[in-house]
């Protein structure tokens, strides 16, 4: 079921499938549970994504063949792993107006009212598949097709931290200010990433995010 691919002399890829689906991502999360219980000298880092885990090790401390053996030894235990239910995180959002300059466009291009777009966007529990791109940025699954909208043809030079957006069939929150081409429909004050806080990151893969419209603004 799982494939192990070479990735230079200091990493390996453990692959559970080619697709993006809660099922395949679930296998990755189960593997992470098994990995976290392992003692492996020289293991530097595990980086899970949609359908694989990048295993990084110190080549001076860890023997690559032994790492491969250890990974293969986990596979029989996969079916026994009970995935902990992810946290459910509510993210209050100021939709539209100056916080969501592209809300009207998203509505118009999809033949909806802005109220309908907000209603649809905030009615789903989005699965957090993985984090990447910038610290704290969550790749969310489950965006309703009715409000899917292509990226802006002219990306903005500056997108404010906390901006909530849509790009194609993806939705997410910009945790830090950066350039970007997403359609911005709202803004949140929640800081998904704060290097001086414990926990530094509020969200883990497997958590669920629900956007909650803030009505008094």
């Amino acid at each position: 079921m799982i494939q192990i691919l070479p990735y230079g002399d200091a990493a390996l890829i453990v692959k559970a499938g080619e697709d993006i689906s809660p099922y395949t991502n679930g296998i990755i999360r189960k593997l992470m549970v098994l990995f976290d219980g392992l003692k492996m000298e020289g293991l530097l880092e595990l980086v899970p994504s949609y359908n694989e885990i990048m295993v990084c090790f110190d080549p001076l401390l860890a023997d690559r063949n032994k790492v491969v053996e250890k990974i293969k030894s986990l596979e029989p235990f996969l079916s026994a792993v009970e995935l902990p239910a992810g946290k459910e995180i509510e993210i209050p959002v100021y939709y539209g107006g100056k916080w969501g300059p592209d809300l009207a466009y998203v509505a118009a291009i999809n033949g909806l009212t802005t109220k309908e777009v907000v209603g649809i966007h905030s009615s789903v529990d989005y699965l957090v598949y993985m984090l990447g791109f910038t610290p704290g940025f969550c790749y969310l699954g489950g965006l309703d097709d009715r409000i899917a909208t292509p990226r802006k043809s002219n990306p903005r030079l500056v997108v404010a931290a906390g901006s909530v957006g849509i790009a194609g069939r993806q939705t997410g929150v910009y945790p830090v200010q950066s350039p970007g081409g997403w359609q911005i429909i709202g803004r949140t004050n929640v800081q998904l990433f704060d290097p001086h806080r414990e926990p530094v990151f509020l969200v883990n893969p497997g958590d669920k995010i629900r956007f909650v419209p803030v009505t008094d603004h």
Partner: protein, 313 residues
């Protein structure tokens, strides 16, 4: 021991505080950052009695002017920037003793790209998420999340008092950065995306490092490296240092210390750990070729170099 510090005069083109890197947070999207040339940083730290990954300064192409508040051991390793103390030439790859009021500066770079300046006690920048490395794309870490500016006063840690003494790195451990560079590479997870012509182009032709190259990634210019149709993209996945990716225009990009943690281009190959020091010393205009190395041989070379370093202790 009174607190020591350095004051920066002219800061050099791009000087940042770096240590061994910020590990444990790639799964949250936090780049590793850290020294581009970990090997040179390791040697410099050894020379001043620090842990191999203690925070130091990474200088790029031109070096900073550094004024010392107090006595300190200093060492310089990496690119060919001859260090100068109070106007007199001193040697790189050797422990240097400086005292209060001394000025360390650097002659023009004659080869390589990055130089590591280690101070006994290390650079005492704030520890953020376990590291003192600067992640400039995130504006975080190191010295205020940015490169150094004139007038910066930077504290140093307490000098290790077990008197590590004056040392010199033996010739055999100093890499040859001068000749045309060949990087030995291993296959990446998507190596199968290469077309036959693409593989041949990658392994038998020369590329030039483009000016549009930095701590996030190096862009190479040369004959286009062909992939199978629609083989360029992958679902967002993790990326290690030294990964070679090939976007649709066929011009390879090499992922470096400040790379984003995940990306959507095929991971064709990766530079072997033993050659990371050569990679990090490439600069715009340098020519580079690639050759294959087997995993066993790469491991053997790395182990051999490490044993030599351990003999120094």
């Amino acid at each position: 021991m009174p607190d020591n510090s350095i004051t920066i005069g002219s800061p050099g083109l791009y000087t940042t505080v770096q240590d061994g890197g910020r590990f444990g947070y790639q799964r949250y999207g936090m780049p590793v950052s850290g020294a581009m040339d970990v090997y040179s940083m390791q040697l410099a730290n050894w020379l001043v009695g620090n842990q191999y990954d203690a925070a130091c300064l990474e200088a790029t192409l031109t070096g900073p002017d550094i004024h010392f508040a107090d006595t300190c051991l200093v060492a310089v390793c990496g690119a060919g920037m001859a260090p100068v103390v109070n106007g007199k030439d001193v040697a790189a790859y050797q422990t240097i003793m400086v005292k209060a009021g001394d000025l360390l500066s650097f002659n023009t770079l004659d080869h390589g790209c990055r130089m590591y300046v280690a101070f006994s006690g290390g650079v005492d920048a704030e520890l953020i998420m376990g590291s003192r490395s600067t992640c400039q794309p995130c504006r975080l870490g190191g010295w205020k999340g940015r490169s150094l500016l004139k007038g910066d006063v930077i504290p140093l840690g307490n000098m290790n008092n077990n008197g590590s003494g004056m040392k010199k790195v033996p010739e055999v451990l100093v890499p040859d950065y001068n000749r045309p560079c060949t990087l030995r590479i291993l296959p990446g997870p998507e190596v199968g995306r290469l077309s036959f012509e693409g593989l041949r182009t990658l392994m038998t032709t020369a590329f030039v490092v483009d000016t549009n190259s930095d701590r996030m990634g190096y862009r190479l210019a040369g004959l286009p490296v062909g992939l199978h149709a629609s083989g360029h993209e992958i679902v967002s996945s993790g990326i290690v240092f030294g990964t070679i990716q090939v976007p649709a225009n066929g011009q390879p990009i090499m992922m470096m210390a400040d790379r984003q943690t995940t990306g959507g281009y095929a991971r064709i190959a990766v530079v072997s750990a033993i050659d990371h020091t050569l990679l990090a010393q490439l600069r715009p205009g340098d020519e580079v070729t690639f050759s294959e190395i087997k995993a066993n041989e790469a491991h053997r070379l790395l182990g051999h170099r490490n044993r030599l370093i351990n003999l120094l202790q």
